[in-house]
């Protein structure tokens, strides 16, 4: 019955349609939200039930025939391993919390039903991605995620920034998806089956027999990693996540925690296929490192509260990429889990701030700490869960990462520590801006949020605080004592340094751009994300636009011009010829006869 789980989400979408399309106008769009909450609740319950069962009877595999023709056999397959089910639990759980939260956050939104329809679609596709056992199905659902991201980001489509954000989100992911499609089509043709297990077997055989040329292998590897790179907002395809912050916040909660997780899970599943391509692994490492560090740095320079954390998502997923590329999938999973929950919590508290103050600008916020206690607690717990300082989720992740990298790849251990420090710096900086200091005009009257937002936020706060206990149950984590004390000290030191830096750095609300020239240049560089959008505009966008104009010119001037020219020529020659007509029937007949004779002769000649 596990195939029902993705269908819950999709059924939620279908159930919302009457309200979203405006066929039912009485009593407002709330029933759509309630229906969605109900099916998501069922999905959570069902997935927990299955988790229990699989816990007892071990991993299961389910598959159904979908389409077969000639040598093409496409199946719908579900892999019920503990990892996948834990991810499913994360997806459905955060989706449920996010949906309750959205009911409060989008309280007065006129198109609430449309939002819930999209979230249902989103949740269904996500649940399918984490469970899928075949590359084809993963691709299928990843593309659906791309579509639903486009629609969710474009939710408030009347705003100009939202329009460009939705476009960029779609196109960036689409580039990744098309490359993934190329890889997938090639794999499908070479390996036959699309099931991950069969693909692994095929890859091992092809590697042993050398059936695949190095070039093909490298291209295949690059194609396969492009899709997850786009989904996980890695440099240089990270732009969309930043812009996507224009969308409604409940969707941002999901996007920053579970969508990126789904992308990384797909990467984990294709990882064994990258054995043909050392280059792809190198690319993963480079991209991961750049994303981790640059993401953390760019986050520090943001004044928009949502963007300050969306770049941090890029940064953490960079660490996940490094861990996957260095063959540490268990740690990567742990990091995804801990980051997903903690980041969702941080985004919930950010959403509360935005809902209360109607403001996303850090320099206009301040003094909320005493006014919004639940939000403050959520922020603090979420922040603590993100960095390696207090013994919450990410502390173990950083500890394990540093411990496993330090002997062989000390460089990547340093990257982890640096990211930890920079993230701690960013969190502390934002905390000072938002919660400390004197109240600002927009934060003077700031009551705590309504219960619909507070309930999921507080529940998640408790959950994040309990992550170590959860991790101990699912995935036996070494106790603090078993991590070498040097590693513990290094992680703690990096976290502390970050917090201290963030606490001591000068924060000036009125002169948020530094007045020291070199610092100012650096700040501008980071604040505008290394001018990535301008670089894109000047290169790829300009190239495609130029090619399109060139093609259009060829079409209009050459092809069409030629056709029109022939037309004019024939008209003109007809005009000329009509003066040369004799009018004698005899000549016409003669001409016709001569022509027929010539034709017959030529046919005779052809037949011989």
């Amino acid at each position: 019955m596990v195939w029902l789980i993705p269908l819950y989400g999709f059924s939620g979408m279908v159930l919302s349609l009457p309200w979203a399309a405006g066929w039912i106008k009485r009593n407002g769009p709330r029933p759509a939200a309630y229906l969605n909450l109900l099916v998501t609740l069922v999905a959570v319950a069902h997935s927990s039930l299955i988790l229990q069962q699989v816990w007892q009877i071990g991993p299961q595999h389910l598959d159904f025939a979908w389409f077969r023709a000639a040598d093409l056999n496409l199946r719908i397959g579900f892999d019920l391993s503990l990892t996948n089910l834990a991810a499913l639990e994360l997806v459905t759980g955060i989706s449920l919390l996010g949906q309750v939260y959205a009911l409060g956050y989008l309280d007065k939104e006129w198109s609430l039903a449309r939002f819930y329809a999209l979230v249902g679609f989103f949740e269904g596709a996500l649940a399918g991605v984490v469970l899928s056992s075949s590359l084809f199905m993963s691709y299928f659902l990843l593309e659906m995620l791309t579509l639903s991201t486009y629609l969710l980001v474009g939710f408030w489509y009347a705003q100009p920034l939202v329009v460009t954000a939705a476009r960029d989100a779609f196109l960036t992911k689409r580039v990744g998806d098309v490359l993934l499609l190329m890889g997938m089509v090639a794999l499908s043709a070479w390996a036959g089956s699309m099931e991950f297990q069969d693909l692994y077997v095929w890859a091992a055989e092809a590697d042993a027999s050398g059936a695949l040329s190095p070039l093909a292998g490298t291209l295949l590897g690059l194609g396969l990693i492009a899709g997850p790179m786009g989904k996980c907002a890695q440099f240089p395809m990270h732009l969309w996540l930043d812009e996507a912050m224009e969308g409604p916040n409940p969707a941002s909660i999901l996007r920053n925690s579970v969508v990126v997780t789904a992308g990384a899970l797909v990467l984990m599943k294709v990882m064994p296929l990258l054995r043909f391509s050392p280059l792809a692994t190198t690319v993963l490492l480079v991209v991961g490192t750049i994303s981790a560090l640059a993401g953390a740095l760019v986050a520090i320079a943001q004044v928009d509260i949502k963007r300050a954390f969306s770049y941090s998502t890029t940064s953490y997923l960079g660490l996940v990429f490094i861990a996957i590329a260095l063959q540490q999938p268990a740690i990567a999973l742990l990091l995804l889990f801990a980051h997903g929950l903690a980041k969702a919590l941080v985004f919930m508290s950010v959403g509360s701030i935005i809902a209360t103050t109607n403001c996303q600008d850090l320099t206009e916020l301040g003094g909320l700490g005493s006014r919004m206690p639940a939000t403050t607690t959520a922020y603090l717990v979420g922040g603590a869960g993100l960095v390696g300082l207090l013994p919450l989720g990410c502390f173990w992740c950083f500890g394990l990462l540093v411990e496993s990298f330090a002997p062989q790849q000390p460089f990547f251990a340093a990257v982890c520590l640096l990211t930890n420090g920079l993230t701690a710096f960013n969190l502390t900086r934002v905390y000072r801006h938002v919660f400390l200091g004197p109240p600002m005009p927009k934060t003077k009257r700031a009551p705590e949020v309504n219960w619909l937002m507070a309930l999921p936020m507080v529940s998640l706060t408790v959950l994040v605080a309990l992550i170590p206990a959860l991790m101990a149950r699912f995935n036996p984590v070494p106790s603090i004592g078993s991590i070498p004390w040097t590693v513990t000290a290094a992680v703690l030191a990096s976290g502390l340094a970050g917090v201290a830096g963030g606490a001591l750095a000068p924060l000036n609300k009125f002169w948020s751009r530094s007045m020291i020239q070199p610092l100012r240049v650096l700040q501008d560089l980071l604040a505008s994300d290394f001018y990535t959008d301008r670089i894109y505009k000047a290169t790829i966008v300009a190239a495609v636009a130029g090619l399109a104009r060139l093609t259009n010119w060829v079409d209009q001037a050459l092809v069409n011009g030629l056709v029109n020219g022939i037309g004019r020529l024939s008209l003109a020659s007809a005009e000329g010829l009509k003066l040369g007509v004799s009018g004698q029937v005899q000549t016409y007949v003669l001409t016709v006869i001569v022509a027929i004779v010539l034709l017959l002769i030529s046919l005779q000649w052809l037949q011989v």
């Binding site: 000639a70 198109s111 593309e143 043709a189 093609t551 259009n552 079409d555 092809v559 056709v563 037309g567």
Partner: protein, 508 residues
């Protein structure tokens, strides 16, 4: 059995032409709807009687006609033609349904519509080359009239261009058929690949070349696509639906049935070049679409791109690719018809299709929210979003072609990515943003917020909704269509091997 598929529409046209008195427009439309509904119902009966496991021609009917010319009235249906007959039946019905505001000569209009439908059925069912050609030409003049009489402002130019291009296509096809008969020395125009085997390779290539150009004009492929954007922009919405959804399929059907089917050996020789031609056509169509400002032109150029996939699949000629080509024909028929319908609604409500003028049409109260939502669905389907018909078709085409022609296939996939670019531009410009129907150059006028578009009645969107349901249904459950066509398409791919075996006397 099959003859009824011809008799119903032709009889309907005759009935309407001879209808006594002076019937109202509504009455004539009703008669047309009944006739076309009957035709669709009868196609469904044929579908029920069809045995998908059998790859041969089924339900054959034959009648001696003009023996001395080799012209035989011979009909048959297989897994390649049946889906197209069904598409023809449904799309003609759709285009009759969405014909509401016709101002002049409704009697002629509806009669021509039925003639086209019957002629297209005939072309898909004909088992004789000359018979096919007769129907191929028969559809030409009515369509020319539909554009030239009921078209837009620049209709004369577009209609003449269409006529000349398609007439040239007809000459080339007829020439190739006659050439085949002359060179083999028999006046037997039945449809078998065996005939071409008696010819030298040079003669085969010559005849195949003529056919390729002939059908290439109809498909259309670059550089013969020139007539299509003009014809679409000037044609009215129902005619565009017919043109894109049904008539272009005559070209691709011809490529598969007559080029690949009758000259398997020469085809195999030309195939690498054809794959490159397909990739160029895909890229050219997609890039040109990006630069368009008129929504209809954009959709028209997207057709050029998407029909290129079929040539690619035909060049690869693997079972999966050919089945993919059938899927692509069906899904392109549905999707492009859907897009043209929606553009038609936008045009009717706003009076323009200019992407620099339209903004924010998704506005829930004063805009066209439902049309916009369907438009998003349509463009996503066209861009190959999974869960809809475009994806599974493109996937099969690419999957079937990549081993044979990796470079051309990868380039075509780039074209599929470009589809997302131009259709996203369309949706973003026309449907997102703040509602306005003015050029953005004038900020004062643009700032006006008093645009209030007339509501779209449910009956206007019902045909579009039906097509959208079809697009999603094929995307989610492709197995039905696959089963219908698989036997025939697989049999087609064995032709080259069969021909080679014949040549070497292996089967003798």
């Amino acid at each position: 059995m099959l003859s009824l598929l011809l008799l119903i529409p032709f009889g309907g046209a005759l009935l309407l032409a001879l209808w006594p008195g002076n019937p109202t427009k509504g009455r004539m439309r009703t008669v047309t709807l009944v006739v076309l509904g009957l035709q669709l119902a009868w196609s469904l009966v044929v579908l029920a009687r069809f045995d998908p496991g059998n790859s041969a021609m089924q339900l054959q009917e034959s009648l001696r006609w003009v023996d001395s010319l080799g012209l035989q009235y011979k009909l048959g249906v297989d897994g390649l033609s049946l889906p197209l007959v069904l598409i023809n039946g449904s799309l003609t019905l759709v285009s009759a349904i969405c014909t509401r505001d016709i101002d002049k000569r409704p009697r002629v209009y509806f009669a021509l519509l039925m003639v086209i439908s019957g002629a297209v059925n005939g072309a898909f069912l004909a088992q004789n080359l000359l018979l096919f050609f007769l129907f191929y030409e028969l559809e030409l003049i009515p369509l020319w009239c539909l554009i030239a009489v009921w078209g837009g402002a620049n209709r004369d130019y577009a209609a003449t261009k269409f006529l000349i291009f398609t007439a040239v296509s007809g000459f080339l096809i007829l020439g190739a058929f006659l050439g085949l008969a002359l060179l083999t020395g028999t006046a037997d125009f039945s449809l078998t690949p065996i005939t071409s085997e008696r010819l030298s390779m040079g003669a085969q290539l010559l005849l195949l070349g003529a056919l390729l150009v002939g059908f290439g004009i109809k498909v259309p492929l670059f550089p013969f696509h020139n007539w299509l954007p003009d014809a679409h922009t000037q044609a009215s919405t129902p005619v565009s639906v017919l043109l894109a959804g049904v008539l272009l399929k005559l070209g691709t059907y011809g490529l598969l049935r007559f080029c690949l089917g009758m000259f398997p050996e020469a085809w195999a020789q030309l195939a690498p070049g054809l794959a490159i031609w397909a990739a160029i056509s895909v890229l050219f169509g997609s890039l040109a679409a990006i630069a368009q400002k008129d929504m209809k032109r954009m959709v028209a150029y997207s057709s050029v791109g998407h029909m290129g996939y079929i040539l690619l699949a035909a060049a690869a000629a693997t079972p999966v690719a050919i089945l993919g080509a059938v899927f692509q024909m069906v899904s392109h028929g549905l999707i492009s018809a859907l897009l043209f319908l929606l553009v038609g609604i936008v045009y009717r409500k706003t009076g323009t299709r200019d992407l620099t003028v339209l903004h924010g049409l998704l506005n829930p109260e004063r805009g066209l929210p439902f049309t916009g939502s369907l438009m998003i669905l349509g463009v996503m389907a066209s861009a190959g979003m999974p869960g809809m018909a475009g994806f599974i078709s493109e996937f099969m085409v690419f999957r079937g072609s990549i081993s044979a022609y990796p470079l051309a296939t990868l380039l075509s996939m780039v074209g599929s990515g470009l589809t997302a670019v131009y259709f996203l531009l369309l949706v973003n410009r026309a449907f997102f943003g703040r509602l306005a129907v003015t050029p953005i150059t004038d900020p004062v006028v643009h700032g006006r917020l008093d645009v209030n578009l007339a509501a779209v009645a449910p009956r206007e969107t019902i045909p579009a909704m039906a097509l959208a349901v079809g697009v999603v249904a094929i995307g989610l459950l492709p197995a039905g269509l696959g089963r219908l066509s698989e036997a025939s398409t697989t049999a087609m791919t064995q032709l080259p091997a069969l021909a080679a075996a014949l040549k070497s006397g292996g089967l003798g």
